[in-house]
Symmetry: C2
Subunit: 347 residues, 2 copies
């Protein structure tokens, strides 16, 4: 997909209009900030409603008007009330209205007199990344990997640094190296709490192992990587099982494979070693503007993988009361999966 | 309200059960993380569904089970599928089901065979803070105020620091001083972009004025403060108008007053000086576990203020192409509003 960046919004919009038309839908009401950004270049800071149809418009809160007018490729109008929006929909003769699956119930309720259909047309469109999007994800990944090396976790461990200080310094380094923000709150989990997949950085001196799950954003696009710094034989033994699952899952990723098949490859390996019950989440997920996008690499997701999807592969083994190990990389789907970046899996 | 901290969840639950019963509702389905935390002490990191009824339970994702069991006062079960949840609801003979206004459409859709009512019963309950909650907000505020003083914005301006560096250092100081996190991404907006109420910190040397809107969390509870560091006569003139609106709005806050009346006080003053069109947001909002809670101090909100509400008061004047000034404090509603903290309004 060689689409010029300045035409990318029109390209996305036209693809979605075609899909709406195929399903006999007059318009889709878009409230998700990243979907609005994807379609217009404008990232809301409070609330906004994009009405996607032949002549799309965005209803924007008064406090964001200046920002929206400076950044949106779609016409902007000031939001006044849901009642006025409903009037507008009627004037535009919108009857069959698609809504997004994450629209909130209170908004859903305001539009219930329309013929509503929940549609994932935009998240489906976002599954396949353009060259421009892939470059931004790769850039985010480069910044993140460089920053983790600069942080030097083993030196921090020797110096008895605190979990939260390390998390802050990593965030600082990523921003210094060109990121706009973290992709999510960095997980810096050491010792016992590494068995909690989403532990929050504590006011505790680094114990072992040290699990670091982190990423940054570059021009809106996320990276997501996990490394676990290991120190004992038991940690090494578990880590080698996780790494085998990680590598084999990546080998199984190619255009045409199903997401659930990839999950099964990782899960079967961990199960063979007797740790199936300790692998308590799915093997991975897509990412882009959001840190979690469709598809997920889970037993339930039957999505057929396609070229230019970007996926994480992140098997883990969590031993409650002992420790947890997770290793995560991002890959680009092609005939074979291409690893994004070259950060060693064992540091 | 002198409720012991260890009974606080039961107290909240009983209040809400009474209200559900009055409305002939069998249960409420709660997916909002902070509402689940408010009712159980467990803060989800992925997804969770609390079913609030006589014997409440929480459906938790497998990866969060260890965390949930360690922290929740309510029984935990492993989430398997929406279908299993629907079966459970039927076994429990739930027919009239309340859902929250921010429940997403895809979940709403799974439960549409029940008699659904959108209810704000929990957010209404959360409007009035307990003594324990007020103490946590005050502690968050103390940490935040102390940290802004430590940062010394005027010194940063003299040293030609970057907006994002200042934002990071402020976040670092708040964490060092005892906060668990920022309440929201700090706004550090200088020069032209101070006219954007929600500007994101840039890789730019601090210009003038410097608008800092920031806060931190202590045991889950948020603070929210804005100071604008002014440097010119014009900035001083606008700042004095904003401060007058700020002070008079606080004077108007008392139990029995309506939220919209307080907004009108601030808006009328700014309008009298000719800047009505430049005050492009509401005067304030409640806060607690969330940075924005009900009520809002806006022309549309007719909520009658009650003792032990905590509100922000944050009028602003935004001159597109020039600069913006906002001054924000938190107050506790009582017979008279009590200012939280003693950070000078002009620094």
């Amino acid at each position: 997909m060689q689409i010029k960046e300045n035409n990318i919004h029109d390209f996305h919009i036209n693809n979605i209009l075609k899909k709406l038309d195929q399903k006999d839908l007059d318009a889709i009401l878009v409230a998700n900030f990243n979907n609005i950004y994807y379609l217009s270049g404008y990232l809301s800071t409070s609330f906004a409603f994009l009405v996607l149809k032949e002549n799309p418009i965005i209803f924007v809160s008064e406090m964001d008007l200046e920002n929206a007018k400076n950044n949106s490729s779609i016409d902007i109008v000031k939001y006044e009330s849901f009642e006025k929006m409903v009037e507008y929909f009627k004037e535009e003769e919108i009857r069959n209205l698609a809504i997004e699956s994450d629209l909130t119930a209170n908004v859903y309720d305001k539009f219930k007199d329309f013929n509503l259909t929940i549609s994932d047309v935009i998240s489906t469109e976002r599954m396949i990344k353009s060259d421009g999007e892939i470059k931004k994800i790769m850039k985010a990944s480069d910044i993140a990997h460089k920053s983790l090396i600069e942080l030097d976790v083993r030196a921090k461990q020797e110096k008895a640094a605190l979990e939260w200080e390390c998390a802050y310094e990593l965030a600082y380094l990523m921003r210094k190296n060109g990121a706009s923000a973290e992709s999510f709150e960095t997980i810096f989990a050491s010792g016992l709490v590494s068995s909690l997949p989403h532990s929050t950085p504590r006011h505790h001196i680094l114990d072992t192992p040290v699990l670091v799950d982190y990423g940054c954003k570059f021009e809106g696009y996320c990276s997501d990587t996990t490394r676990t710094f290991i120190y004992t034989e038991k940690q090494e033994e578990i880590s080698s099982i996780v790494l085998e699952a990680h590598d084999k899952a990546i080998d199984a990723i190619k255009a045409g494979a199903k997401a659930c098949e990839v999950d099964k490859v990782a899960r079967d390996i961990i199960t063979e070693y007797g740790y199936g019950d300790n692998f308590i989440h799915s093997t991975g997920h897509s990412l882009g503007l959001d840190i979690h996008e469709n598809p997920s690499i889970s037993l339930k997701d039957k999505t057929v993988l396609e070229n230019n999807m970007v996926l994480t592969v992140e098997p883990g083994i969590y031993l409650e009361g002992e420790f947890g190990i997770r290793i995560e990389d991002m890959v680009l789907v092609d005939k074979k999966a291409k690893l994004i970046g070259n950060l060693p899996q064992i540091l």
